[in-house]
Each structure stands twice: as C-alpha cells, then as structure tokens.
Symmetry: C2
C-alpha cells in the first residue's frame, strides 16, 4: 500500500492507457485484426518454472515488477500469475506504452538481474505477442 | 482518455491491490503455493472466437470491461488480448478483490449481456484459476 494514496477515494475509471484503434481486415484465411502503430505493446510469457524454487521465482518477479512500473515511464503493467492446479506453470502479462518501451525494458538493470536470478529456475519460456482488445482496470 | 485526469502527472506507484501472502508448502509431488483466503481472485479465460466476428467480440469485451471496473467495487482488472499471429485466440485476464466479488460479477446485467451477445461468437472457453504472484501496474 502506498501511504500517500491509500486513503484517497477509489476512482472508478479505467487505466489511462491509450485505447488502440483496431480495424478488421479480411484475408483468404478469414478476418484478422490489424494494429495501429501507436497501440500499447502487449505480450504474454508462458513459463515453466522449477517447482522446488517457486518461492525464489516469486520474490524475483515481484521485485522486477515493482521496479519496472516505478522506474520505467513506458512499463504500464507487469502481472504474473501461477496456475492454481499446477503452480509451476506461470503466465506473465506485460503492457508497455509501445514497442520502444519494451526494448528499453530489456536494457534495465532490474530486468537483467531478474533474468540472471531466474536463469536456473525457468525451465521453458514461450513468448506470445498480443493485440490489446480491452485494458480496463480500476484506477488506483 | 479521461479528460479530467489526462493532464495529471503520472504517479509511479503500483496498483493498490492487496499483495497476497503466499507460502510455499512441500508435498510428495514437490512444492506448491498455497493461498491466503484474502488474496485477490484471479482467473484467465482462454477463448476461441469466430474469426468472422472479431470486431463484434471486441466491442462486447470493451463494453463489459469498462462497465465492470466502473460499477463493481470488487472488479479490479479486466484485460482481454488476442494472439497477434492468430487473433481468434483470445485471453481474458481478470482480477477481483476476492471470490465473492467474482460471484457478484456473474450476476450483473453487463456480464449477462456480454454472455448473451457473444454466445454465438465464442466457440470454446477454458477457465483457469490462478494464484497472483505480482500485480504491478503503473497508477493511472
């Protein structure tokens, strides 16, 4: 909890993320979204982590998430969740202002530390580029 | 953009979500997180949608996301994203204050309307209960 803001009334509005303009285009294989260049850059990482080191992984992802949204002007969201039925399966949901902000994230000390600390914890990693449809969140 | 707030300086703090207490317990099959009762309730829905109706689906999910975080005190996040390489594959990432808040969400008019409007658009639905590890987001 941030003591400066925890007593403010909650504002029921959505996060101030730019809502991207999506167009539906048709192709031979069916319809597909195409994306405006200025849309947020969103990716999901599907990780398989060592079940014996879940607590270390959690500490590392909490640290990199907190630092990323605090220090980086373009890192908007870094959520990480584990499947309740199989906690070694982790999904990381990241939103950046744009692709440049994501590239900047990769150069930060806190990200490099996260990758070093978790190098032996993360057994596999699948990265999926996503198109944002709705990024609704209660304002803090 | 909300004109009332778009000119405010961005506050670099994290969303005021309660950070759950997670404990690592051991079992014969390895370690697993167990969850505090008061943690946020998080679920991911993996949807397969009709590619010919993506635009209609997007309109419906934008509407339910906006209404949910604005009207429901316990709906904190409703993000929906589509795979860039296969936009008919949609992931919905939802965070509620607790499980009761999620149950309340299911009874709302906007949710029921979303399910009705998308009944013929959503071809399959896989719901996965998740344990939150990090819910970092830049404050709006």
């Amino acid at each position: 909890m941030n003591p400066r803001t925890s007593t403010r009334p909650r504002v029921y509005s959505t996060l101030l993320l730019a809502i991207e303009v999506l167009m539906v285009t048709s192709s031979l294989s069916g319809s597909a979204f195409s994306q405006d260049l200025n849309t947020p850059y969103v990716r999901i990482a599907e990780l398989e982590v060592d079940p014996a080191q879940l607590e270390s992984f959690k500490a590392a992802i909490v640290a990199v998430g907190e630092a990323s949204v605090r220090v980086e002007p373009g890192c908007l969201v870094l959520h990480a969740v584990a499947e309740k039925a199989n906690p070694s399966r982790v999904r990381v949901f990241e939103v950046y202002r744009d692709k440049d902000a994501y590239q900047a994230h990769l150069t930060t000390g806190h990200f490099k530390k996260f990758r070093a600390v978790t190098a032996d914890i993360v057994k596999s990693r699948r990265l999926i580029d996503m198109i944002p449809l709705s990024l609704a969140a209660k304002a803090s």
